[in-house]
């Protein structure tokens, strides 16, 4: 019989975290689960099994998780709530390539499922290096741990993290390996940006208000900028980053996903497949780069020594464990177009970098300026154009810059900002972490905010054109930007040659 709740509800399940002792689990997953528990969002039958290499028993894992929650939870640790929550935490030591580990996992699952509360549903969260994805999927199948997508009463779902491959070919390989074991409907490819409130709000803003959508096209929009600026350097991820670089690490997934949300056509229904197909269309409309385009419209650079928040920091090549002659880009800026009717001729400027002036992720839609009459006649002092800024982090919110008359007898025009912030409007604790929302969606079986195979592959196909052009012309040194700045002069020239400027965030 159907329950009383009509919305999609998280189903009882066991969440098996491959890499449950790793950094992602510590910083994001365990705190997210704790916050979901605090809010009463977890299903009544819910258990967690950490599955990783470190030797731990349940008790030790619980104290590992407790420390993680105390350090990283967005809401304060509460001993009483914790005591209740921790009962759901279990741990199984594992070696991913060893079938015995999966047999041990099976026994733990049997034990848990025998109690009945989880209804035998399983979610495998692969918080592990991508090179293990194929292996783990295969082992799961061989151990008989995966329920088929159709015909079984219980469900099995798998969550995989970025990066999904390092180019189209490797992404296809991972997708094929997953497809061997899981049906596409069982696979949830996470891009945690899609779990952020403001990102979801892009659709509400566009299609839940009547004032934006009529202006959302090449007639009214001058250009769009998407910035993902990180303040941190490579930190502990130097090995991974050296192989990946900024283009693969951020542009291929986060930035392209944001671009899709801004540029997609209105879906006719809030159906995951419809939304994902509309996003896919955007990716397919991205103008492909020729090697000449890459030279002209893509800038890559590396940070050199500088100051971040007033503290001296070393350059990329001087970071621990990195090669002194590395040519991995820590910054990319590019100009692209979405070649369809709506966006014809509207440039999209995308940029991302490490060790930039501040941490800021933002989409800005700059509208065309008013004609050069009335208040905008002075060519030396033009009015500031309207800018709609969608701030994704930190401090999620939306602002609109408009021109207003200053009080007084003379007409003096001043740019004012209408600002909406989640934290202020809905209360400080109102903004859940992206992972909270995404984990719930998997439990509820809603894949809207996850990437479908064809989306991931279309994104790689476009990115590969840049990578290939770069490989053909490998410089000995990349242009540099001082840590703590907004990027290299080459990136300024890229946009300024079109008569525009990067926004100072």
């Amino acid at each position: 019989m159907a329950g009383l709740e009509k919305a999609l509800v998280p189903q009882p399940c066991t969440l098996i975290i491959f890499g449950g002792s790793g950094d992602l689990s510590r910083r994001k997953l365990l705190p997210a689960l704790y916050n979901l528990a605090l809010d009463g969002h977890l299903p009544a039958g819910f258990e967690v099994i950490g599955f990783a290499r470190s030797e731990m028993d349940d008790a030790k894992y619980r104290s590992f998780a407790c420390e993680a929650v105390q350090k990283f939870s967005r809401r304060p640790y509460d001993a009483a709530h914790w005591a209740e929550f921790e009962r759901a935490l279990h741990y199984q030591t594992a070696s991913f390539d060893d079938p015995k580990s999966y047999q041990a996992l099976k026994s733990r699952l049997d034990e848990i499922e025998a109690r009945g509360a989880t209804l035998g549903n399983r979610i495998f969260y692969l918080a592990i290096p991508p090179s293990f994805i194929g292996l783990c999927a295969r082992q799961l199948k061989e151990a008989g741990l995966v329920h088929p997508a159709k015909g079984a009463e219980q469900f099995s779902r798998i969550i995989v993290e970025k990066p999904l491959g390092h180019d189209l070919e490797s992404a296809r390989k991972i997708n094929d390996e997953l497809a061997h074991v899981f049906d596409e409907s069982q696979i949830y490819r996470i891009d945690h940006y899609l779990g952020k409130e403001t990102v979801q709000n892009i659709l509400v803003m566009r299609f839940g208000n009547s004032i934006f959508e009529p202006l959302w096209d090449e007639k009214h929009i001058d250009h769009v900028q998407i910035t993902v600026a990180e303040e941190e350097g490579v930190g502990t991820r130097a090995g991974y980053y050296e192989e990946a670089g900024a283009l693969r690490d951020i542009v291929q997934n986060h930035i392209l996903q944001l671009l899709c949300m801004v540029a997609m056509e209105p879906p006719y229904v809030m159906d995951p497949e419809v939304i994902r197909s509309h996003k896919l269309e955007v990716l397919r409309c991205l103008r492909p780069f020729t090697p000449q385009d890459v030279e002209r419209y893509v800038v890559r650079a590396q940070y050199s020594a500088g100051f971040c928040r007033g503290l001296p920091v070393v350059g990329y090549r001087q970071e621990k464990c990195l090669k002194i002659d590395s040519t991995t880009e820590t910054y990319v800026a590019l100009r692209t177009f979405v070649d369809n009717w709506r966006w014809a001729g509207v440039p999209f400027y995308l940029r991302t970098g490490k060790r930039m002036a501040k941490r800021a992720t933002e989409i800005t839609v700059q509208f065309k300026n008013v004609p050069r009459v009335l208040f905008n006649v002075d060519a030396t002092n033009p009015l500031e154009p309207n800018v709609l800024a969608i701030r994704i982090q930190p401090d999620e919110g939306i602002s609109l810059r408009i021109s207003a008359k200053l009080t007084g007898a003379r007409v003096r025009i001043y740019p004012v900002k209408m600002d909406f912030r989640y934290g202020t409007t809905f209360g400080a604790d109102a903004t859940p972490e992206a992972y909270e929302r995404l984990i719930l969606d998997v439990m509820a079986g809603d894949p809207t905010l996850f990437m479908r195979r064809d989306e991931v592959e279309a994104a790689w196909q476009w990115i590969d054109l840049v990578q290939e052009a770069w490989q053909q012309k490998a410089p000995e040194r990349l242009p540099e930007y001082a840590a703590g700045t907004w990027g290299p002069p080459e990136a300024d020239r890229l946009i300024e040659s079109d008569g525009r400027r990067w926004r100072t965030l």
């Binding site: 303040e231 500088g306 100051f307 971040c308 928040r309 007033g310 503290l311 001296p312 002036a357 501040k358 941490r359 800021a360 933002e362 030396t380 002092n381 800018v387 800024a389 930190p394 401090d395 602002s399 810059r401 200053l406 003096r412 001043y414 740019p415 004012v416 900002k417 912030r421 934290g423 202020t424 400080a428 703590g484 700045t485 907004w486 926004r503 100072t504 965030l505």
Partner: protein, 371 residues
Amino acid sequence: MSSEVHHYISHPPRPVPLEALEDELIKLWRHPEQAQELGTHAVRACMANLIVFYSPAHGPADLDKTLIETVQRHPSRLIILQEEADSGSIHPEALVSTHLDQSHQVFCEQITLRAGQNGLERFPSLVTGLLLEDLPTSLWWASSKPLPHSQIWFLETSRLASQLIYDSFTWQDARQGIRAVTQWLSSTEGDQTAADLAWRRLKPWRRVIAQALDPALVPSALESIVRVSIKHGPHALPQAWLLAGWMAHLLGWQLKSGKVALGVEIVWQFESKTGSVSVACCRLTEGEYALLETAIAWQRGGRTCQARFRADDSTRITVDYEGVELKPRSVVLPQRTLGALVARQLSDFSGDPLFEQALGVAREMADALEQ
């Protein structure tokens, strides 16, 4: 004004670790502590970012009070860069406080960053992270020291602002001061402006002079000016230059020479379309830091006529004429505090081209004294 300031509550500055500054400011925004005090919800008002450079030994005596007045009139995020006397303190310290307008339940944040001379290079990266986007940014050089226009930290900080505000009334050495400003301006890419508060104070003078010598009132006086004598109080020489520069620019005079006549008087020779013009600036040892008197003489039919403008008691400018049949008149000289002047300048962030032209002539006038 004082009654308005009376409604302001300033919360004492609290030290905050540099790495926690951003979070701390977001928290403020979410839970302004004042909101609890008021028992209602206070909102942040913000029209601009105002970066203030200040060194206690060389800055305005009551900077805090001045700034409260500024943000009350032009709500801004205040980022104060304070140079400490101890040049060895490299690690900047951060303090956060808020100013709350009790009657309107609006608050502004103030972040004070303090470092010694050797730590100044760390300011730009800190300031960059603190600016609120989409708002005009101004840098107020609230110091009597000349602009360090060739120091990297200053160039990088000033690049974050669209406008540099300074007050030439504070300069010890007018020539050095004017050179530093014009050199800074020439190092910008034309997208930044400078604003001297002394130019703003000059506005009533410019208006009254323009009205008194309006061609409809005294035909052809402007074309046939032969002499301008300006008397000013201590520290107002750059303002006198700006006044002369303004006239020279608008009337198309070319500078020929300049020399110090007496210790307190400097005389320049300009060439106008109709002949030569002498401009004399005379510093009075007493009196306000301001223009005190300006006399403008012109030729009419072989006779010399004159209009004399006097700031009698710093509340009015009186104009009287010689050689023309016009009655004396007087206009009110508005009293503006430093905080109000800065606030007014913040709303004019896109600059005044006329000021830059006048400044250009003033620079020539300063240079002419060396030759």
